[in-house]
Symmetry: C2
Subunit: 402 residues, 2 copies
């Protein structure tokens, strides 16, 4: 049976030429989307040298002998207001009043704070301190240079980027289209969210849990259907799903009868069909992966923990690979607070404890695989990659946060 790494490698290989679309959107719309090209500044920011305080624009060389006892006397040549085109030039022996944000007059190369000066008769300014070349100035391009890469292709746009994008006059960004998902829920015992389950029935929780994680990931669910245990119906619904989505998730399709249907239905459509049946991990061992009409189809087990974990460790990973996105925002490192040597490669639901020092991580309870509430109670999960060594109290582990 394949390891998780082998399975992911195989899946990547199959879909390495997946034709992902791009679109151009407003910066606002682009937040949390994955960039399809580098964003390159086409202007200098600021576009001119600006004063960073209220004071006098001077030639630094004029001020070198200035002190409290022997101030330098400079000719006062007026004021430049913020927002105003400087227009004037400061020559040797002259100074011009500027406010925070004012454009610097040509010639001047520093600003002395108003507190360190005194204006005399609107004609002369006494300078009590020397300033260095460049002091209290932000020069043209000091913030952002024309041609500079502001955000790289493959990064997600984050609120922190917005200031720089606006400053550089970037309004539109080219991002990868949101991945479109179809979800097929199978199981005769399932009723939809709005219905009241009769005795023997339960609500279909997996497709909604998946939908929530899909949205957080930046994808959209374009098709969702609950299919009864009927071979023809199932075949038809899978075809519908494959035709409208980038990826198809079949939830509950890995129990004995349904598992056969899923594999059969995938194999009946044009394409390579099923190429993974089972991965040596827990939870998620019965994972089925196939290709129909160029689209990946994932058959996920019905118990509620596995589909969520598989979505994170297989489905998200595939899409991130296709678009070249490396998402590390939701990973923390924490000190393991338990010993565990599982029989197989295991993803374990965990809770974090934040106090003094490092974050500590503990197992999130016994975790009956049939519990929807187990995911709800966990802060995230860890990946015990090596069952032989397992995890020991005091180890540092990556924790993937929900």
């Amino acid at each position: 049976m394949l390891s998780l790494e082998e399975a992911n490698e195989l899946i990547r290989e199959k879909f390495k030429d997946y034709p992902v679309k791009t679109e151009e959107v407003d910066v606002w719309e682009g937040i949390n989307r994955i960039l399809a090209e580098d964003i390159v500044a086409s202007v200098d920011v600021p576009g001119f040298s600006r004063s960073m305080c209220d004071g006098y624009a001077v030639l630094a060389s004029d001020t070198q002998t200035a002190s409290e006892e022997t101030p330098v006397l400079l000719e006062y040549r007026g004021e430049i207001l913020p927002g105003e085109n400087a227009g004037v030039e400061a020559k040797e022996g002259q100074c011009i009043y500027v406010s925070t944000g004012s454009m610097m007059p040509s010639g001047a190369d520093a600003v002395i704070m108003v507190e360190q000066t005194r204006l005399q008769d609107q004609e002369f300014v006494l300078i009590y301190k020397p300033v260095f070349n460049g002091e209290r100035i932000i020069k043209r391009g000091d913030d952002i240079k024309n041609g500079q890469v502001l955000i790289k292709q493959g990064e997600r746009i984050n609120p922190k980027h917005v200031g720089a994008l606006v400053a550089a006059g970037v309004h539109r960004v080219k991002v990868f289209a949101r991945p479109r998902f179809a979800i097929i829920s199978t199981g005769d015992e399932l009723v939809d969210i709005g219905e009241n389950p009769a005795e023997g029935q339960i609500r279909d929780t997996n497709s909604y849990a998946l939908q929530a994680f899909i949205r957080k990931f930046g994808g959209e669910v374009v098709h969702r259907v609950l299919v009864r245990d009927n071979r023809e119906l199932y075949q038809r619904e899978l075809e519908n799903a494959v035709k409208c989505a980038d990826m198809v998730l079949v939830s509950g399709g890995c129990s004995v009868g349904i598992r056969d249907y899923t594999a059969e239905a995938i194999n009946a459509l044009p394409g390579e069909g099923v190429f993974i049946q089972g991965v040596s991990i827990r939870p998620g061992r019965p994972l089925i992966v196939g290709e129909c009409m160029g689209r990946p189809v994932f058959g996920l087990p019905g118990h509620p923990i596995a589909p969520v974990i598989l979505f994170k460790i297989v489905v998200e990973k595939l899409w991130n690979h296709i678009v070249g996105c490396i998402d590390q925002a939701d990973v923390v490192k924490a000190v393991v607070d338990f010993d565990m040597r599982p029989a197989v490669f295991t993803h374990l639901l965990v809770q974090l404890e934040r106090g003094e020092g490092l974050v500590r991580v503990k197992a999130a309870g016994p975790g009956n695989p049939a519990q929807t509430s187990a995911v709800s109670r966990a802060d995230g999960y860890i990946w015990i990659k090596n069952p032989e060594t397992g995890l020991c109290r005091g180890d540092i582990s990556e924790v993937y946060i929900f």
Copy 2:
């Protein structure tokens, strides 16, 4: 001058009775919103005992002597399909076929996997292994119990909660209304995002950066205006802002001239007026906080790093306190990779390095306070609470992630 803690304490005290609204929304709409009441399950999940595998529902006591050599013989009493109301009862000496998810028949208290049995002539089943009471069953309420608190008031609803909410039949949730923000940008040198700045002008970046962080926080910007350096206009715009928003952010209102206007304008409106002018932190020292007509008004410095940091450490904190939300999702702990003893209490922009072992954190460059791009390049910030001891290479520090 107040410390950050003193300032936050004072602000909390002033607005401790802030009349925050609540609303009832769909679970979907509720994701990332803050709960205004505990969500309590009103049903058991599952609502009946279910089989967790394909096999035979039995009385565990009947199987205790079973082995490969001496199987136990049980009477076969038919099958319960998934989704079907069991209807029948299993009595001593009997067994009933169940699938994964099937309702358990009354009387039976365990399931034996079909692989450990053999059906004879559709009349008897040979059982080759003993099972314990409760084996391979998820009992009524094992997942979620009627009356159980699923998510506590003050928590943010996360995708991870959706499965449990749907399972428990929760469709609507009571959440706190999104905080409504008004942003006033001041500065004669500013032009709006769509305009091309002339010589001497720059684009208003702060209000857009703030808006991005407001949205991420779950708030909305209901009013945004760019005000020229005109006292009457400014006064009128502040009044408009206070009337339509929960919180007012004045960006750039702390430079010399404008700072006076801001304080004056706040004081001219009904209410307590300005109660904080300056906090002993860097960046963000010129912070002004006041109360007009029951609303908090924050005067934020114009340089682009300070407003973002102040939004996180003062404005978000106030709202989280008002609604009782503790948000820790965006904090990681990391090993400091530099020595620093700043002169004052400092928030420092940082970058993370994730490799083997713990996450390491380094300062995100010189950080000219006038750079919009500095925030863009940082992964987050750390808080050097104690300038005397500062931070030393190897210390563990909390990192607040953007």
